[in-house]
């Protein structure tokens, strides 16, 4: 197996996640897709770590922090989704347009 295999796999997963994040209505699904993107990035980091610095583990340390941030992000994201659901009775991202002028 070569580095390129893993990178292409990571790119594929990333773009699937991106497509979902851009095109889905439900905020929870958007969040799920963002998790997919983060996982794709982790795959790339670990692959780089395995093939370029096999003994230093730089990429693995990096992905540990990335997982940590992902955990924090999903917690806050879901808290916001629930707060919005309580207020608006919906989590349809195309109906939540609080950013609109």
């Amino acid at each position: 197996m070569s580095l390129e295999h893993y990178l292409v796999l990571s790119a594929v997963i990333f773009c699937i996640g991106l497509y979902g994040a851009l095109s889905k209505r439900s905020a929870v699904v958007i969040l799920m897709c963002i998790e997919l993107m983060l996982n794709a990035a982790n795959i790339a980091l670990v692959a780089f770590s395995r093939y370029i610095t096999p003994t230093l583990l730089t990429g693995q340390v990096f992905s540990i922090f990335s997982i940590l941030v992902a955990a924090a992000e999903v917690t806050i994201g879901l808290a916001i989704i629930i707060a919005i659901y309580r207020r608006h009775e919906t989590i349809d991202a195309s109906k939540i347009n609080l950013l609109k002028w």
Binding site: L3, E4, H5, L18, S26, P54, Q60, A70, I82
Partner: protein, 162 residues
């Protein structure tokens, strides 16, 4: 050889479950597909000889994040609506395809400085040394702890009834 088979199986499983997350009409099912995908990622980590990260992946993503997501799907009664798409389906598809194309092009056309060294057999103690040693990343680990604490407090504050 065994590694190659494992990679292709896991890669196929992962792509399929990722597509399932996006395409399945039922949100609950797509959440389950997400769990499968997370597990596949853990498997990929094993093929990359990142044993500790594979364990972390299972614990945090499968054990915590996936559960949280399923919980919030149930709390918000989203299952009734189904996994709908918005009006931007086509433009997002095009742009993601283009991005995928150029990313793959860039990845295949870069000369990566691949090292010939064999990977470490076990990574846990090395990682621990990097993360917790005096001249390592101990401060960052502490900051990460602070971040999680702040997240918990923030999440409670946001969700709390007034």
């Amino acid at each position: 050889m065994g590694l190659e088979i494992a990679f292709w199986v896991l890669a196929t499983l992962m792509t399929a479950s990722a597509l399932a997350v996006v395409l399945l009409p039922n949100i609950f099912r797509s959440a389950l597909a997400l769990v499968v995908c997370f597990l596949a990622v853990a498997g990929i980590f094993v093929t990359l000889s990142a044993d500790f990260l594979a364990a972390v992946q299972v614990l945090i993503y499968v054990g915590a994040i996936a559960i949280l997501i399923i919980l919030s799907i149930m709390l918000t009664k989203e299952v009734q609506h189904g996994n709908l798409s918005n009006k931007l389906r086509l433009p997002s598809f095009i742009i993601c395809a283009v991005l995928l194309g150029i990313t793959i092009f860039a990845m295949l056309n870069t000369a990566w400085p691949v090292s010939a060294e064999a990977p470490l057999e076990t990574t846990t103690s090395t990682l621990a040394n990097i993360l917790f040693s005096r001249d390592g990343m101990f401060l960052l680990v502490e900051i990460g702890g602070m971040l999680l604490l702040a997240t918990i407090i923030g999440a409670i504050t946001i969700v709390r009834d007034k």
